[in-house]
Symmetry: C2
Subunit: 119 residues, 2 copies
């Protein structure tokens, strides 16, 4: 029951596309991630996924549209929907998703992170 | 799959202790709430609850300690733990919790909100 400072936690890592776990509740994880550039197209068959922008901006690409997200904005990507986050400059985001969620969903590859670090 | 601006949503209501729903995923709700003053002591028997400070500050009182929260900080209150949020000045917070969560938990009364508005 200690508090978590998102800004302090973000200062603890610098690498991209490697989410850290900062909280757990009701079978969900709260994660922080930094990224820049294009991720891989993927979907999560069983998990809805929430992206909340802490610092910077990015766009969430879907097959039929693109959504631009700025600070203090979030988007919920429903299960089964293909998506790809893209950031021109580095962005820091908070994720909220089930414990079972794999970052690259059904597209395992170079960017897949199997064992996330708790910070 | 539209984005949600937390700042814009917060501008849509002014009353205290009356959370609004702004998102749903994996059986959880994302809510926004403004409050000032002391809430009632309560606990949630089945739900963990997360409070993330968007604007302002408040303290979360537990029976054996108090945690001061500022902007961009969060706390997760585990199920079964008595707590009481208190704010000297108005604070705006984002909540993550199961759809089943009642704001006053096991302490129904004047501040209980049974039917939350989606905004």
């Amino acid at each position: 029951m200690d508090k978590v400072s998102v800004i302090e936690k973000l200062s603890l890592f610098q690498d991209h596309w490697n989410p850290r776990i900062v909280g757990a509740l009701n079978g969900q994880h709260v994660k922080l991630v930094k990224f820049k550039g294009e991720f891989v197209w993927h979907k999560h068959d069983k998990e809805d996924e929430m992206f909340y922008v802490i610092k910077g901006q990015f766009r969430m690409e879907f097959r039929d549209k693109t959504v631009e997200l700025n600070e203090n904005e979030f988007i919920i990507v429903p299960k089964g929907v293909e998506h790809r986050p893209v950031a021109e400059k580095e962005v820091a985001a908070m994720l909220f998703e089930p414990v079972s969620t794999l970052n690259t969903g059904d597209t395992k590859g170079r960017l897949t992170q199997e064992d996330l670090e708790w910070i």
